[in-house]
Symmetry: C2
Subunit: 273 residues, 2 copies
């Protein structure tokens, strides 16, 4: 019997939303898959009082034997100093790099408190809202209204992952993304469905494994022909024949996250802003 791995408490502390701290902190922790981490994200720590509350919480974890690790992206010096009192391994995700950048840009950073994930540009906000609304309107072939201005049209059989990928592209990159279902009525010999055929250059296909598709469809309609392995196998095979015949790029969603698929779609269709 192997020794049980100790659990470590991990804190992502930020003066803003905590997203950067969480993202980079987790990216670093993912390199240690055998260990157990108890994660806590504490955003909006922009005062010494707030920092002291955090330190108290960390001290409790330390007393409980959880050997805390503290990832920070706080910029205010007094807040950072207050956090230094925490009984934890402190990993400041910004400071070293910020100094490197200051040297290379021959200027000093502004004193703004980590405003990256804050509103900044109203124009960006509008574009994002517009992209999300466009995605909802043009989800699952429900509307062709503004299909001509789509940046990407994702096609695939039902439940291959069109919708989450669409929403991610809209939110993260503010692209106008429509998605369109391939059904049993679509014969690969006829090419892409008529509504999207003229936009083939913007199409991107998804496929997956028959087993995964069957599992996902089973959640929605258990014990149906729709979710049967035979039907899934058939629809996926026809979809892949279609993609190859029409030359549209495609990906297997069973082995990729929404983030990965989006990155590939951007690169393939040369859509990076």
């Amino acid at each position: 019997m192997s020794t049980p791995q100790p659990r470590r408490a991990v804190y992502f502390v930020s003066d803003s939303t905590g997203i950067t701290a969480e993202t980079l902190g987790n990216a670093l922790l993912s390199n240690f898959p055998g260990l157990t981490f108890l994660r806590h994200t504490i955003p909006f720590v922009d005062s010494v009082g707030g920092a002291r509350d955090v330190v108290r919480g960390i001290a409790d974890a330390h007393a409980a034997g959880l050997d805390p690790i503290l990832f920070t992206t706080t910029k205010d010096a007094s807040v950072s100093d207050a956090l230094a009192a925490a009984p934890a391994t402190r990993i400041d995700l910004l400071q070293g790099h910020l100094t490197e950048l200051e040297n290379c840009l021959a200027t000093t950073a502004t004193e703004q408190l980590g405003r990256f994930h804050t509103v900044g540009d109203p124009e960006q906000y509008f574009r994002r809202m517009r992209a999300v609304e466009y995605a909802i309107e043009h989800d699952d072939g429900q509307s062709m209204r503004a299909l001509d201005i789509a940046d990407v049209i994702i096609v695939a059989p039902s439940r291959c992952g069109k919708t989450p990928t669409t929403m991610y592209l809209a939110l993260q990159y503010r692209l106008l993304v429509a998605n369109y279902p391939l059904t049993d009525d679509d014969d690969p010999g006829d090419g892409l469905p008529r509504d999207v055929a003229r936009y083939a250059s913007r199409c991107f296909g998804l496929t997956t494994t028959p087993l995964r598709l069957s599992q996902v469809r089973h959640e929605r309609r258990p014990s149906s022909r729709y979710s049967s392995l035979a039907q899934c196998t058939r629809e996926l095979r026809r979809a892949e024949i279609l993609y190859r015949a029409t030359g549209i790029p495609y990906l297997n969603s069973s082995t990729k996250s929404v983030e990965e698929m989006s990155a590939v779609i951007l690169q393939t269709l040369k859509l990076r802003p």
Copy 2:
């Protein structure tokens, strides 16, 4: 007349999706708001050949006087070595911290190539798909079907930002989020709309400035009563009276990004997973 600021080419290079490199790199660059950066994200650089292509591109930028900066999150040693040849200020976003973590965890990182934004857990993928589909189904009060299992119900007058915030919470945190419109028919004296009143403890309100709302509504219906400043002022005032009267928390979306609002909603409703 001030000296024009030089433009700097910035590269975010990763062996995976590039999201972490982009996010942290941009968070660092946001501290230098007066400078102009030409950004390039290059994901999936996981071979020496790929790294050399990147180096060539950077050399071109250098020759054009763009004084490149290179942010990396690549883990493979041979890829990192190949990138070291680039004529750029190199800022490795992971390496220093990875060593700190290795020391603190008394173990070495696995050799997996930066797999954080990759598929990992199929269960997470299902939860995310389910959350996005739930959000679309329960957008704008269109369906009450599964409102009882909502983690959050965002309420606000039309165009205050309910939908992008909903989608972000679904994608990023896999929460089940519904949203419900407040209309001119809703009298604050009657409390929350009947469909959501029983779920008041999960409600979160949004407001904005009358000018911002008028601008956003104008895009959809120009020169209408709906987009008039008077109507917007009225609806927002009634919404805020309602929030205060029912005690539901609320935020002004005109000063916050979707990320920020989501972080506040999570904290306020104690929804962090």
